[in-house]
């Protein structure tokens, strides 16, 4: 079963890259138009979190990409 299947880790990596990009995009937008009613706005956590998710996602997506031999 596993032989021809795309690895679950690849799915997770791909989703993290997309989610990371969305969160990072929202974070960069927030640098210019700060969100209301958020504690610690100066921390710009969305930017850091988005970058971290993209990095983790890329790691998984590349490491477990379809067709890569184990």
């Amino acid at each position: 079963m596993q032989e021809h299947a795309i690895s679950i880790w690849f799915f997770i990596g791909a989703l993290f890259v997309i989610y990371g990009a969305l969160v990072l995009g929202a974070g960069i937008y927030g640098l210019f138009v700060p969100a209301m009613n958020i504690a610690m706005p100066g921390l710009h956590i969305s930017v850091w979190w988005g970058c971290g998710m993209m990095a983790l996602g890329l790691l998984f997506a590349v490491r477990f990409r379809p067709g890569r031999s184990e």
């Binding site: 299947a5 679950i8 997770i12 993290f16 969305l22 969160v23 504690a39 610690m40 956590i45």
Partner: protein, 568 residues
């Protein structure tokens, strides 16, 4: 239409922006796509019900812990932490880690080597049809009931927090789970649970990270809690349990150790098929054991995203949360809103969508766990032995697929029943203690003592269930009986459950031993691969030191001891 519905969400406590909605919709698209993609890999009953028994240790372990990490549990324990403080972390440490390690090292070899499909299936092999039918039917009823209760409770929370329509929440999330489980069976459920595990962590971890930054670390948080709630101890796990009245839960350390840490914990983690099924799907015994230990490690870490947010809420929220009964007061926020309020406090657009996705993912992983466990127990332990014994394999796969859908519809029906009779929720944990706790006594005696007889297996199980029910009824009819059942008139609901579980286990063990001594045991030849001493367990010596399950189990156990001492 869906977009219109989503944008109406602004009427809740939190309001979502377009980025948040894209994140949530993308999540639903991915889980459905994953389920449909995996359908082609589930052709036989072994594929559908046991995921082909091909899971690696990491996948089995993360799925094992994800099936347990429901969003209701996350929000419920964050709420309980706001009420009782770090005492609630016992649910993740003493009430989980010893039992999970025991499952990995002692019980899994028997489950795995006898090649059973379910825990009731083991009881059939060990004790016969009577014990299997009693446990299978009670488990199936309990699972569907719990699934419906969770579904309704989740929908109510989504309505309060996000303004989502209750019916929409119930139907959309349930049908999504039904489609992906129907398509790919346990394989699909497990893969989605792994995905959900990562989403839960990445969505919720932002709270402790930013929260501790805001409070200036652990010491700053403790200082703020002491300032906000002078004279109350929220940060010690054991030092306040020397008497029933010294802690807000009204529990003594004996109850925590023997009731919570032994009866409830071992009952749930070692015999509740919802979680055990995940590791039984591992590709070999060593992977099953390592997967369980990986699960134990992450279970030990869960307080980071559940307990710590509850403590941070005590430290940083500018108002005090109130019990559910006072939730209707103007401007009041209830205990159950602790986690969502913390999400709203720290998460801007994008991160908020991620946090809400984490809650939805938690709900769906819990529900998929219930549905797949119900489907397997129904097909293998009720339908096959009692209704249709000799059908072709494809018939049981088909039954499994339809049963997934039917299980979801029954859960939805239960959710609507709960909507009209909300007191059922109060009894959910009680029902859980009725059925699951005695099963542990029966299974463990069956595994470790070959003298345990088939009659004892059945009567011990029944005695445990009836004892639990009788004690509950006694306190219900005469509340002063609490001082006998829970040793204290001050015991709260959670403490009463803990002590009732302890009595139920004692009754189960006493009756099982007594009946065993006066009835005829099975011959040794019928107990091969089922009982300690008659089962050839895989020797760990064939693996190097770092590849042995025992090595990592000891490492987790050391971490468990250190954490308990640290937060004493």
């Amino acid at each position: 239409m869906i977009a219109t519905w989503f944008f109406q969400a602004a009427s809740g406590r939190l309001s979502l922006g377009p980025v948040d909605l894209i994140i949530i919709l993308l999540y639903f698209a991915l889980v459905l796509g994953l389920g449909l993609y995996l359908k082609k890999f589930t052709k036989t009953s072994e594929d559908f019900f046991m995921a082909g028994r091909e899971m690696t240790a990491w996948i089995a372990g993360l799925s094992f812990i994800s099936a347990n990490l429901g969003s209701l549990e996350m929000m419920g324990y964050a709420a309980a932490t706001y009420q009782y403080g770090i005492l609630v972390a016992h649910a993740y440490w003493i009430a989980a880690i010893p039992a999970i390690l025991f499952l990995a090292l002692v019980m899994l070899p028997f489950y795995y080597i006898c090649k059973t499909h379910s825990v009731p299936g083991y009881l059939k092999l060990r004790f016969g049809e009577g014990a299997r039918s009693l446990s299978a039917i009670s488990f199936a009823v309990m699972t569907i009931l719990m699934s419906g209760i969770n579904m309704y409770s989740m929908a109510v929370i989504m309505k309060v927090i996000l303004g989502w329509d209750i019916h929409f929440s119930i139907w959309v999330s349930s049908l999504t789970v039904a489609i992906y489980v129907m398509a790919g069976g346990l394989l699909s459920a497990i893969f989605n649970e792994v995905l959900q595990f990562f989403l839960i962590w990445v969505g919720c971890l932002v709270i402790p990270v930013v929260g501790l930054y805001e409070t200036g670390g652990w010491a700053g948080m403790v200082h703020r809690i002491q300032t906000n709630f002078p004279g109350q101890d929220f940060i010690h796990m054991w030092s306040t349990t020397g008497s029933f009245t010294a802690n807000p839960m009204g529990v003594h350390w004996t109850g925590i150790v023997f009731g919570w840490g032994l009866a409830i914990s071992f009952g749930y983690w070692t015999t509740d098929f919802l979680v055990v099924q995940r590791v039984m799907a591992a590709k070999d015994l060593r992977s099953a054991q390592l997967g369980t230990i990986i699960g134990a490690f992450f279970k030990m870490m869960v307080p980071l995203i559940v307990i710590l947010p509850g403590l941070l809420a005590l430290a940083v929220l500018p108002f005090h949360l109130v019990p559910e009964s006072q939730g209707n007061l103007p401007g009041a926020h209830t205990y159950n809103e602790a986690l969502p309020l913390m999400l709203a406090r720290y998460c801007g657009p994008g991160l908020l969508g991620l946090g809400v996705t984490a809650l939805v993912a938690g709900f769906m992983s819990g529900m998929a766990g219930n549905v797949t466990a119900f489907t397997t127990v129904w097909t293998y332990d009720i339908y096959k032995p009692l209704l249709r014994k000799d059908a072709p394999d494809s018939h049981y796969v088909s039954m499994g697929r339809w049963c997934s859908l039917i299980g979801v519809f029954i859960s939805i029906g239960t959710a609507y029943l709960v909507m009209n009779f909300s007191s059922i929720i109060v009894y959910a944990q009680v029902i859980f203690v009725f059925f699951i706790v005695p099963m542990f006594g029966t299974v463990i005696l069956g595994m470790l003592w070959k003298r345990t007889t088939p009659a004892a297996g059945f009567w011990g199980l029944l005695a445990g269930i009836l004892t639990s029910f009788a004690l509950w009824l006694w306190v219900k009819l005469d509340p002063s009986a609490l001082r006998h059942v829970a040793f204290s008139e001050h015991a709260k609901d959670m403490a009463e459950n803990i002590y009732r579980a302890m009595w139920s286990l004692i009754a189960n063990v006493v009756v099982t031993v007594a009946v065993s001594l006066v009835t005829r045991p099975k011959p040794d030849s019928e107990l091969t691969n089922l009982v300690y001493g008659l089962t050839e367990l895989a020797p760990g010596e064939q693996f190097s030191f770092f590849r042995r399950p025992i090595t990592w189990a000891v490492a987790v156990a050391i971490g468990f001891v250190i954490l308990n001492i640290w937060f004493w």
